[in-house]
Symmetry: C2
Subunit: 327 residues, 2 copies
């Protein structure tokens, strides 16, 4: 059992049998959605959905709900996971990725057209799933997240190769690209758990955790090791994505400041060399430290809320799990 | 003034000043959406939205509403147009199209990544727009259409190059790919026009008109002329899309039945030659005749409904406009 599995085990133990039951129902619902929409989708999406993943977002939905009795929670958990998958499928087209989680991607199996359409279909099904809850507020939360995800991608594109990306701009991008769906998951949990008044504070918790998640992911891209990430170090550098480690390192090393990624960092060996140089500035430690601050803030913010001990502990474990994943 | 403009003029005249006012408000709202979502989207989407188009789907929303007093109609019209645009932006990425309506596409301006994300954002904004109506039924209608559009694309992909596509399968594909959003537009109009009971019959009207729209588009791809379509004849043949003219022609000309598109129809000259051969079988006339039957059925179906004379006439004009466009 690896660390991530151990961590999930601890969360499940803290969440009790009710949590396991809800997660199982979500898996069932995801499979139904994949199988229920025509033979064409069936093939592609079943592979994508079955490939699994951590189901971190559904987990947040359930843990942010005071009680698990409401069937709408499963619909919300299914919806956030479908939306997450839609973005993965589109990302794989854009990155021309052949494998994800050890399985062929929709792009690899069906090509660009099938993968783009599959992503669009998963997007639509996310909304359809949530409509079944009869909650306009829920659809509003999901569409805000969905817009934010797309804006985050656009911001990343607009920032590509640039030398003047500020830490603030980087954080804003992470908020859009990643944290928005973590936040939405928590809000939906609060909403359907009968505590709409906790939507803001729990949403804020999700935002912080999501932010740390993306920041640590970006550190890992520079630090490696490759066996862990399944991709060469500095993949972000190669496609021009300017992340916090590079931004901080540029402030410390004039040589990096003058480096124009485009045209010079064009192969994995060159990218690895730049990664080493970034690491030498201490920027990785600083970026990691900033991410951990967000996790600590997230956990602290829970203390002021009126949550049961079990619930708070489970949420703490998820926050820690994000860090653990990158330890 | 060309025929299409004259036709629109007639529809507007039949619809009265109220219709013009609603269409103007929709344009305003589309511009707000484009400008209101960050500089990144602003640039790309403003171009796409400003490029205009016929606004056929918003028109259907308004004409299917008994009264135009409800602000939710504009939200619905904006939503269907945003969804339509989202699919166009993604189509342009897949087809690597540089121009649409005489303007550079988002793909041409921003590349694959920006265009995919812009499409996703327009998708999201379509749902966000509809959420403002506080109607779950409306979100349900839009998500059904959105899923159908994506399924239609997947079906088209699955059918590519095949020799055994039946007319029934072809019609099912057109229903998904095109007619579903026409149908949704009509349903939303009925819903917000205060006549939810007309949602089925008016939805059926939209379905028929949308079906004819796609069928005539497919005829035009074979018949040309190129000056009219802005693309070489037989573009569908070149990318393996099997449409009704080819299906019917295969039943009449054994040579076409044995023709394997892939590998043989690889350049515009070859495609044009196959188009000529399809035309010789009379398949174009037959396909056109079938499309016109759907338009006639659509118009006939209105007679049984309790619509004002003006409204029925305006809807008739839209149905005729679809034919006119290809006359």
């Amino acid at each position: 059992m690896n660390t991530a599995q151990a961590q999930l085990g601890a969360v499940l133990a803290a969440g009790g049998p009710e949590l396991s039951r809800l997660l199982k129902r979500t898996e069932g619902r995801l499979a139904e959605v994949a199988e229920g929409h025509g033979a064409e989708l069936g093939g592609h999406a079943t592979g994508t959905l079955a490939a699994g993943g951590k189901r971190l977002r559904p987990l947040l939905v359930f843990l942010c709900a005071a009680s698990g009795g409401d069937g709408r929670l499963v619909a919300a958990a299914t919806a956030v996971e479908l939306l997450h998958m839609a973005t993965l499928v589109h990302d794989d087209v854009l990155d021309r990725s052949e494998l994800r989680r050890g399985r062929p991607t929709v792009f690899a199996q069906g090509g660009r057209l099938a993968a783009t359409a599959t992503g669009d279909l998963l997007f639509s099904r996310a909304f359809a799933e949530l409509v079944s809850t009869n909650s306009e507020e829920a659809v509003r939360v999901l569409s805000a997240a969905s817009s934010a995800l797309a804006r985050g991608e656009l911001m990343q594109r607009a920032d590509a190769w640039r030398g003047d990306v500020t830490p603030e701009r980087y954080l804003e991008r992470c908020r859009h690209k990643t944290a928005s769906l973590f936040e939405a998951s928590c809000r939906l949990g609060a909403l359907f758990g009968g505590e709409a008044d906790l939507s803001d504070p729990l949403g804020n918790f999700g935002d912080r955790v999501g932010l740390a998640f993306q920041m640590l992911d970006d550190v890992l891209d520079v630090s490696g090791p490759t066996e862990r990430t399944g991709k060469p170090r500095g993949a972000d550098l190669l496609d021009g994505t300017v992340t916090l480690p590079l931004i901080l390192a540029r402030g410390r090393d004039p040589g990096l400041r003058e480096l124009d990624l485009r045209g010079t960092v064009t192969d994995p060996a060159r990218a690895a060399a730049v990664c080493d140089r970034i690491a030498l500035t201490g920027a990785l430690d600083e970026a990691r430290r900033q991410a951990l601050t967000h996790v600590a803030d997230a956990k602290t913010s829970l203390v002021a809320l009126d949550l049961s001990e079990d619930r708070r502990r489970a949420l703490d474990l998820v926050a820690d799990g994000v860090v653990e994943r990158y330890a």
